[in-house]
């Protein structure tokens, strides 16, 4: 008995071993808001994919029912000022929002990460130039830059993404620059340098992987900002061009008739709000999950 009791008493408690990513995933799953947001976003992606091959009605078909018709069984979200089915247009609008949101962040990553890494790692004159350029871009009103670019390049989905990237890349570059400046002083980087690793290897093999957490969070939070920006441009009439619907342009058309047909503005506004909230909840969840200091 005594022997057995002694054995139990001295058995060490082994800490559960988990990688950064599995640990983050475990904590993300515990965040109910983030989980619900993820499910919503998966559904949104599914809707966007389905709308590439099927919508209840052709999204640009005019006069398929009464104009300004309120929701009915045949047209669940009603119709707009040209008698077009709002649900069909909302589904196609989801494509636009996701393409703009994700496409913008892919380009922002492609531009901002290398610039930030180089500036933060090498510092010196390169950092000064990059910092100066970033500050200049911050000093110019983003809406003005985007509108001028869209006017010059022409209003298309591709050019809207380019315009948004031109006003958003600095956030990512500055974040990555800060991460790189911090990480380059860490021991494992010192060790790598001492071992003769090439700068490219140091940047993309050691520093970037260790900065991925904040980058992912920043990119995730950048998606709703880009979606909102596109909606705003479309609301102003310089966004995606007809017949392609955008939630912003649909809201704009709805506002014109808000007193007579409020459903026209309610449907795209709710879709836009839910999507923005979902991306923000997911971003917050990812930040909590990937931030080692917030472990609980």
């Amino acid at each position: 008995m005594a022997t057995a009791a002694a054995v139990v008493a001295v058995r060490p408690i082994e800490p559960e071993q988990a990688s950064l990513w599995s640990d983050a995933w475990r904590r993300l799953r515990r965040n109910r808001f983030a989980l619900v947001a993820s499910i919503y976003l998966l559904l949104l992606v599914a809707v966007a994919l389905i709308s590439t091959v099927w919508t209840p009605y052709r999204m640009s078909a005019v006069g398929i029912t009464e104009t300004y018709a309120p929701p009915t069984a045949a047209h669940l979200l009603g119709s707009d000022e040209l008698g077009r089915d709002i649900l069909s247009r909302l589904m196609v609008g989801a494509q636009v929002s996701l393409i703009v949101g994700v496409g913008t962040q892919i380009l922002v990553l492609a531009v901002g990460v290398p610039i930030g890494l180089l500036a933060g790692y090498y510092r010196g004159w390169l950092d000064q130039i990059v910092t100066f350029i970033i500050n200049v871009f911050y000093g110019i009103p983003d809406l003005l830059v985007a509108m001028i670019l869209v006017f010059i390049l022409g209003p298309s989905l591709r050019n809207i993404i380019i315009a948004i990237v031109a006003t958003r890349w600095m956030d990512m570059a500055r974040l990555v620059r800060g991460q790189a400046m911090s990480l380059r002083e860490r021991e494992f980087v010192e060790a790598g340098r001492a071992a003769g690793a090439r700068p490219i290897k140091m940047l993309f093999g050691h520093i970037l992987p260790n900065a991925l957490g904040p980058i992912i969070v920043q990119a995730t939070l950048g998606i709703p900002a880009a979606i909102l920006f596109e909606a705003f441009l479309s609301f102003l009439g310089v966004g995606v061009q007809p017949p392609t619907p955008s939630w912003g342009s649909m809201a704009n058309e709805g506002v014109m008739a808000i007193q007579y047909a409020p459903h026209m503005v309610i449907a795209p506004s709710i879709a836009l709000s839910l999507t923005l909230m979902a991306f923000n909840f997911l971003g917050d969840g990812l930040r909590d999950a990937l931030d080692p200091r917030s472990r609980r």
Partner: protein, 582 residues
């Protein structure tokens, strides 16, 4: 005492309630008092600031609807569109050959600053307008010597004033003379059946201005209330650009009817919806005046569904036709090319016809306008109700035949290369242009399988681009100035406006058209009508345009506003309006 008091109280209560009901159902809600209100201030919104109120430069209906209350000409249109004397004491004596018009002026006409109007003022005003070469200078084009004055190089400011003061031949219409203080004699260069209509056009080049004030600030005199002097029933008293403008009735005005409304306050807003909401909330007495009768369809539908407002809605056809314009000429001055050029022969013509037949104009009026604010344009270019209107369903380009359209497209563009990458330009400033553009885009996609990009362009840039031949397909339209077919056929096609390279949306340049137009313009109206209709047929045969719709204006008039309204052309004058007790 107590029971009696209680009974009395009940009777008084019921009486009070009945009184409230009576008051609620009284004049404010249906029955209207015939007594004039103590406050005769008319308030209404307009949806943009003035371009100009100078008759020599005035170009837009939105400006003329205001300025017509400040200026007069020798003759004018009455509410029924008859030409009647205005500053002239009677209609002019016309020589038997139709070449000489002699006007006798009233001797009691004064400007708002007290200056008397004489024949010298008419000569100054018309010479100035012809020399400035504003948008409506052409209304004086029939007068002998116009060709000299219109080529004058000094078109503004003090230099032009100096030339006018010394009656320099370069700025003096040789056919315009004043035998005495109250007689004006007009010698035409060739017979022009449209001359009287042109000089009667409200607020434009036929109006009389006061040299004593104009000369002090030749180009901007109209912007200052103290100097904005005219002969009309009202004068400007305050003007804050982009905010508001106020007018006051002239006491002892020489004309008739004598104005009842003493003050007119106009707010310059930017949004039709908010203007209509303000009207509904009682901030304004009327909506739609000042050339802004294109109310949004959703607002009209809402008002039609509101019991106490639907009777305030006045829908009236306006003399405005909207059509799609093809670019027909491509040269050094016209950058747009496209598959619809006259040089493309039968193939291009068939493609134009395919694009025309692919549009269901009846559906357009139903979907876009709810059959309220527009009607399908099936009777030719000239709007229904005007002289020269050909008749319902007479325009072959107004037909809808998707099958024939598709056949024509397949035969003339079998691989789709000619109609690839097309775009349709329009100005989205008027919301209906956007919905029409999207409707057309869907019609071509559905009925032809052709995708056409939409190209929204801000209004002023659009007009410039359009007139210089930058668009393969574009929105076009014309609002009649006066009830004469010459107004339509002189200004849009052929050599007179400058086609193909200047001031010409289509580029349409056809010597047969020019010859027939010259003949029609010289003829008396009744004799000219068949010729004008033949010109319309020529445009149809060449498939130069696609008729879309005729416009209907929408006005809101409070029940206590009497005398306000509109004919096909213009708002009824302010001096005809009375505000009743309410």
């Amino acid at each position: 005492m107590a029971p009696f008091s209680w009974r009395l109280l009940k009777i008084l209560g019921v009486g009070a309630a009945l009184s409230l009901v009576v008051v609620a159902c009284g004049p404010g809600n249906g029955t209207q008092s015939n007594n004039l209100a103590a406050n005769q201030t008319l308030k209404f919104p307009i949806l943009g600031d003035f371009g100009t109120l100078d008759p020599a430069q005035l170009n837009a209906e939105t400006d003329s609807e205001i300025a017509q209350n400040v200026f007069n000409g020798l003759v004018k249109f009455d509410n029924n569109l008859n030409i009647v004397p205005d500053i002239a004491s009677k209609l002019p004596d016309v020589s038997s050959d139709g070449m000489t018009y002699t006007f006798t002026l009233r001797q009691d006409v004064t400007f708002s600053n007290g200056d008397k109007v004489t024949s010298k003022d008419v000569l100054y005003s018309w010479n100035r307008a012809a020399a400035e070469q504003g948008a409506y200078a052409g209304n004086l084009a029939a007068i002998k010597g116009y060709d000299v004055v219109s080529n004058n190089k000094v078109t503004s400011g003090a230099p032009l004033e100096a030339l006018l003061e010394k009656n320099d031949p370069s700025v003096t219409l040789s056919g315009l003379t004043a035998p005495d203080q109250y007689t004006v004699k007009v010698q035409l260069s060739s017979p022009a059946g449209w001359f009287l209509s042109a000089i009667a056009l409200e607020a434009t080049t036929g109006m009389v201005v006061d040299q004593n004030v104009v000369k002090n600030d030749f180009d901007n005199w109209w912007t200052k209330p103290a100097e904005m002097v005219g002969t009309g029933a009202y004068k400007m008293t305050a003007y804050t650009p982009k905010q508001s403008v106020d007018f006051q009735a002239i006491s002892n005005w020489w004309g008739s009817p004598k104005p009842t409304v003493q003050k007119v306050h106009i707010d310059i807003l930017s949004n039709a919806e908010s203007a209509i909401t303000a009207y509904e909330q009682g901030s304004y007495d009327i909506y739609g005046y000042g050339g802004y009768s294109n109310a949004p369809i959703d607002a009209i539908l809402r008002i039609q569904g509101t019991a106490n407002e639907k009777n305030q809605l006045l829908l009236h056809p306006k003399v405005r036709t909207t059509w799609l314009q093809f670019n027909l000429v491509h040269d050094a001055a016209r950058s747009a090319a496209g598959p619809f050029l006259l040089s493309g022969g039968t193939t291009a013509k068939n493609l134009r016809l395919a694009f025309a037949l692919a549009i269901d104009k009846t559906k357009l009026a139903t979907v876009v306008c709810h059959d309220i604010v527009c009607a399908p344009a099936t009777g030719g270019l000239i709007t229904k109700g005007l002289i020269g209107y050909v008749g319902d369903n007479t325009d072959p380009l107004a037909k809808f035949d998707a099958t024939q359209a598709k056949q024509l497209l397949t035969q003339n563009d079998p691989d789709g290369s000619k109609t690839k990458g097309l775009s349709y330009a329009y100005d989205p400033n008027n919301p209906i242009n956007t919905t029409v553009a999207q409707f057309l885009q869907d019609q071509w996609q559905t009925n032809l399988g052709v995708h056409v990009d939409l190209q929204p362009v801000d209004h002023s840039a659009f007009i410039k681009g359009y007139l210089s031949g930058k668009y393969v397909m574009a929105r076009n339209g014309w609002q009649a100035d006066y009830n004469h077919p010459q107004d339509w056929y002189d200004n849009l096609w052929g050599k007179i406006p400058g086609c193909p390279d200047a001031n010409c949306g289509s580029g349409y340049d056809n010597s047969a058209y020019d010859t027939l137009l010259a003949k029609a313009d010289a003829e008396p109206l009744q004799q000219a009508i068949p010729d004008y209709q033949a010109l319309g047929k020529m445009l149809e045969d060449d498939v130069t345009y696609v008729p879309l719709y005729y416009s209907v204006g929408a006005f809101l008039l409070k029940p206590y506003v009497r005398g306000a309204g509109t004919n096909n052309f213009f708002d009824y004058y302010w001096d005809q309006i009375q505000i009743l007790s309410h």
